[in-house]
Every structure is written in C-alpha cells, then in structure tokens.
C-alpha cells in the first residue's frame, strides 16, 4: 500500500490511537498496547495482531518510524521502539481537528446526550 493511497483515506480508530500513544512518548509495541488499554479504560481491547498490522500501515505511510537506538527496550531485545514522525504528528492533528469538527456538529444537532462530553 503506497503512501498517497493511504493518505487519501481517514485514519482508522486503531491507527489514531497508536498515533496518540506515541504523541507523548516513544514506545514499543507491547507498551503501546498497555497505554491504549489504560487510557481507554479497556474500552478499546487491542490485540497484538491488530496492533502490528496497524503499525505496519503507519510505518509504510511514514507517520511512525522505528527509533534506531533501542535503549528503551533493554528488558526484551526483541522489542523495537517507535516514535511519531513530524508527518505523523501533522496527520494526528488533522485527524483530531476532523473529529473535533464532527463533534461540534454532533453537539449542534443534539446527537450527543447531555453530560456525555464535557
């Protein structure tokens, strides 16, 4: 899947969650899983197979890159640490803005129940 083809499509929920996880810190795959699980309170149950497929797409899209120095994965040499590229950060921002606009529209049309989103 080439980059231009992928860039024309909106991010999937899993891809966006991965970008959000990497926005604050560089993480390896298992840490991304744990971070997403703790952040979403277990609502987004992500499995390794799904995660690494999404990571593969993000790597191919150039939004995520592997950090060459693996100092953060001393506990398990098999782990690779990923970081968000500038392109990935821009994409995450665009996606957040898109979702924000959708949220505003949803609020304006009373789609959301009161108190559901502050």
């Amino acid at each position: 899947m080439n980059r231009s083809h992928h860039a024309s499509q909106p991010l999937t929920a899993v891809e966006f969650e991965i970008l959000l996880s990497l926005a604050s810190d560089d993480l390896h795959g298992y840490a991304i899983l744990q971070e997403i699980e703790s952040r979403t309170g277990g609502r987004l149950g992500l499995f390794p197979g799904t995660l690494y497929r999404a990571v593969n797409r993000l790597l191919q899209g150039g939004w995520v890159a592997e950090r060459p120095d693996a100092s953060a994965s001393q506990d398990d040499p098999r782990r690779r640490v990923y970081h968000l590229t500038s392109e990935g950060r821009r994409t995450a921002t665009r996606e957040a803005e898109r979702l924000s606009r959708q949220l505003i529209t949803a609020k304006a049309r009373n789609v959301l129940r009161k108190g559901e989103v502050r």
Binding site: H28, G29, Y30, L33, P48, R53, N56
Partner: protein, 554 residues
C-alpha cells in the same frame, strides 16, 4: 501456548513475519505472563482471544497484501495475470456447465454414483473389519476355540468343565463363558419369547461391563447347581418394566421358573444376537458334562502377553486334561484367536469382494466420463481454433481448457501415490504385528490409519481426475494445430494451419523484411524448419525495423 502462537504466526505473509514476528511473540508472552498472574481463567481467555486475533489478522494481512499486489501490478505480471486467468477459467467452466446441463448432470451423477457407492461400502468395511469392538481392552479379547484333529473339528465350542479348568490354570487375566438362545419371559399377564443368554458372571468382568443398577452375580450364584439369577438389559428394563428401580431382588418368571433379578446391564452393552436378558448357568445335566461342547469362551489376555505363548500353555493344559479325562478329552486341544477376528472372519471375503466390485463400478464410471470428455474435447476444436486465432497462445488455450484439469489430476495422482504408499506401509506394519501375534491395538491403529488415508480426498480426486488427462492432451494438441476446421468456403485444399510464428513471419513479409520473406518461402516449400525473432517482433515492427531471425531447429 507460546509454541502454538509461534506456529500460527507462520501463516502471516513472510515479509510481515520477518518484520514483526519476534515482537508479536514477545508481546504475546508478556501478556500471557501477566494474565497467568491473574488466574487460570483470565489466562485461558487471553490465550484464546490472542490466538483468534492472530488467525484473523493473518487472513486480513494476506488479503491486504494480495489486494495491494493486484493494485500495484506484480513486477513480473505473472501472479496478477494468473489470478485473472483463473477467475476467467472458473467463469468459463460455470458457463459451459450451464450451457450443457445434460452433459454436466451425466458426468456428475456418474462420478457421484461411483464415489458414493465406494464411500458407503468402505464405511461398512471400516466398522466391521477395522474398528475395534466396543469393549474395554478389546485388543486383548480372545476367543478360546477347541480343535480335534482325528475328528476334523476346528474352531469348535468348549464345555463348562474345561472352562473351569482353564480358569483354574490362571492363563488369562479374566475368562468367561456364554451361550445365546431363546427363553420365554412372563411379564404381568403376557408371556414373550425373547433372545436370551446364559453366561458366567466373569463374562461381564471380562468384557468390562458394569451394571447400571444392581450388581453382577456373586461367586455362589455363578456356580451351576444353584438357583440362577437374572441380569436384565436396560432396553428390556425400560420397555417392559417401566424403569422400575424396585425390579432388583424381585422374581421374574423365566421358562416357568421365578428367577431373581440382580442387576441391569447398560444400553451401551451390545452383544451378538442382542439378548434381552442374561442368566447364570443352570445345572440341567448338560452343562456339567465334560463331553458336551456347546459353549463359547471369551478371555482377556494379560497386557503384553503374546498369543503364541498363551497357545503353548493351553496346549500343555489340554494334553494334561487329555490324560486325566481320556474318555471325553481325547485329542481335544484349544487355542486362542482374536475375538474380533473370530466374529468377522466369515464376513471378510464378502466385504472385500463387495469393496472390489464397487471399486470397479467407479473405474467404469470414470472411463465413461473420460469418453464423454474426449468426445466433447473433439467437438470443441473449433472453439480452440477461434481462441488461437484471436491471439491466445498455446499456454493460454491449454490453461483455459485442459491445464487446470491436468494439474488437478497430477496433484490427485501424486496424492494417490502417496496414499497407496501409506496404505502399503500400514499393511506391512499390520502384517508384522499379526505374524508376531503382537499388540492387537497397534494393528487396529495401523488399519484405521490406512482407512483414514484411503478415505482422504486425494484418493477420490485422483480417480475422478484421471480420465481428464486425455482431454488435457487433446487441448494441448489443439493448441498446437489450432484452426484445422477454419477452412474458407468453397472448393480447394484445406490450408495448412498457420501458427503464431507464421503470423509473425507474414507480418515481417508485409513489411518487406528479406529474412522474413525467405523464411516464409522455406515454410511454403514444406521444409520443416523453425525460426524465432531475435527480438520482440511487435516492438521491432513498431519502430519500423525488421527484426533478425534465428534458426532454432532443423
């Protein structure tokens, strides 16, 4: 579980596996360790969900990779083209089937009849000859048969006193004796003649059959001369006694005598002639007479004890009985044979003959289908000609019409060969154990293994696919000489079939290539020579160049 996960990862596309395989395993192992700390159930849930995720992700990844390949066009162009061809061929095959429903129905029903008959007969063969008998340790159950050389009796029954002596000799782990017959049982106001059997209590322990309710006859009750007791089968107990639990210790009139019911045998217990109830032996004078040999003896050998050794010991005991009871045991010997063998030996030749017959039916059906396919192949020569004239190469024509079948047939034949080798190995293995009188269970496993292999799809497919080889050849032949029927209207000789090389030559001739013209002349004179352009003639012609020609064979 970790190993299973690693094995499952092998289904991922190689590139994905090389890139993320170790990480996936690492994440799985870490997560599994954490879930085990939470307990057994969480760890099981974790393992099952992650394995399912791996399986589904593999499929998704392979599908995505395949889609991407098709979108991006494979560098060689082969895979994409091949996939497209397969789809085309599939659609074409469906269209042909739809347009010729009679032909399709005949072929399918012929093969279905042959395969169905074979499957049905083999199912019977499997159950009767290959499956072990439904008793505990069925591989160690043997039938004790008697022989008398001077009287020319072999495989005969035994007498009760002989059975008592064999039991006392402690030759077997357990030994029992029985006789199947008819009895009249009175239930309420009605009497009914039913199948029944008399047996020693040890027969049920030999066969490993515990009663559903009640107990087996005690040693005192088991002795002929005491009042016999009854064991009902579960079927009779439910049907005629309404599953009455108070049936135990109640007398039931059998053959005019009230006999005590001591237990009920389970419905899963099946025996030859399906007796409705069992009694212990009654001393009617016949049972205790040593010369009255009319009872069948079943014994269970000790684990690992070879049959030959048991037979040797039996021979010694029988020789001793011969000396002690010369009037009744003169020249009487005993031997053991596997019980299953003694039960099915009469049916074996008929079943094997039947299996061979239906095999021949399938063979005849296949040959009929082959003939039909040949005729249809000959009728489709015009179609092949049109395909070739429209630019389809030899390979494409073969692929569309015969190659897929040839390939399927080759695969089928390969599998068939492998299966046959497997069956032979199993047969040799089985025969070895049989000759050594060894472990019956091993032989049963070998036979079942062979049965499983024979029933595999390849066995059937090879037979179904074999006749289409000829059709494939027909197609290939038609691909070489494609337009033999495409003669122009009017009288005159039939033009020789030009093939692709001729068309290229003609094109070269039109463009004024000296080499092409020369080669065309050589061909028209009937010289059997072949030439090939040194470069792609189409691109050369597009550039306005005349390609060079190479002679490839004389």
């Amino acid at each position: 579980v970790n190993t299973l996960y690693r094995v499952l990862l092998r289904c991922y596309p190689p590139a994905f596996r090389a890139r993320f395989g170790d990480e996936l395993v690492g994440a799985f192992e870490a997560g599994f360790r954490a879930s085990r700390e939470r307990g057994v159930i969480p760890s099981v849930i974790f393992a099952v969900t992650r394995l399912a995720d791996a399986a589904s992700s593999e499929f998704a990844e392979r599908w995505a990779e395949r889609s991407a390949t098709h979108l991006a066009v494979h560098p060689s162009g082969f895979e994409t083209r091949s996939a497209r061809w397969w789809l085309q061929d599939l659609r074409f095959a469906m269209r042909v089937m739809r347009r010729q429903p009679g032909f399709s129905v005949v072929v399918i029903s012929t093969l279905a009849l042959g395969i169905g008959a074979n499957t049905a007969v083999f199912s019977v063969l499997d159950v009767v000859l290959l499956q072990p008998l439904p008793y505990a340790n069925a591989d160690r159950l043997v039938h004790v048969e008697t022989d008398n050389g001077p009287l020319r009796i072999s495989g005969g029954p035994a007498s009760y006193p002989d059975f008592v002596d064999w039991r006392a000799a402690d030759l077997f782990e357990d030994i029992g004796i029985y006789q199947v017959g008819n009895s009249v049982i009175r239930i309420g106001d009605s009497s009914e003649r039913v199948q029944s059997a008399a047996a020693s209590a040890s027969l049920f322990s030999t066969l490993g059959v515990p009663p559903v309710i009640g107990r087996l006859p005690s040693a005192d009750e088991d002795r002929p001369g005491t009042q016999p007791v009854v064991l009902l089968t579960e079927g009779l107990w439910r049907r005629r006694f309404a599953s009455d639990p108070n049936i135990l210790s109640r007398p039931v009139p059998i053959n005019g005598k009230p006999l005590l019911v001591v237990g009920v045998l389970p419905a899963s217990f099946v025996f030859q002639s399906d007796p409705e109830f069992w009694t212990t032996f009654e001393d009617d004078g016949d049972v205790t007479t040593r010369a009255n040999r009319y009872l069948d003896v079943i014994a269970r050998m000790r684990p690992g004890e070879p049959r030959t050794l048991v037979n040797e010991r039996l021979k010694v005991i029988c020789a001793r009985l011969d000396q002690v009871y010369a009037d009744s045991n003169k020249d009487w010997r005993a031997s053991v044979v596997p019980w299953q063998e003694s039960q099915v030996s009469a049916a074996r030749p008929q079943l094997v003959l039947l299996a061979g017959s239906v095999g021949l039916v399938l063979l005849i059906g296949c040959s009929n289908v082959a003939m039909l396919l040949l005729v249809r192949g000959a009728r489709r020569a015009r179609e092949f000609a049109v395909r070739a004239a429209l630019g389809a190469g030899r390979h494409r024509v073969a692929t569309a019409n015969g190659k897929s079948r040839v390939v399927a047939c080759r695969r089928g034949c390969r599998r068939w060969t492998r299966d046959m080798v497997g069956v032979l190995v199993c047969a040799v293995w089985s025969a070895r154990y049989s000759a050594a009188g060894g472990d019956r269970d091993q032989r049963t496993r070998a036979a079942l293994c062979a049965g499983g292999i024979v029933r595999s799809r390849g066995f059937v497919r090879a037979r179904a696919g074999a006749p289409v080889v000829e059709t494939g050849r027909q197609c290939l032949a038609a691909g070489r000489r494609p337009i033999c029927d495409a003669r122009p209207p009017g009288p005159g000789p039939r033009p020789r079939a030009p093939h692709r090389g001729d068309r290229d030559l003609a094109r070269a001739d039109r463009r004024g290539g000296a080499a092409g013209k020369e080669l065309c002349q050589a061909r028209r004179r009937g010289r059997r020579v072949s030439y090939r352009p040194s470069a792609d003639i189409s691109s050369a012609a597009a550039d306005g160049e005349v390609p060079d020609w190479q002679r490839v064979s004389a």
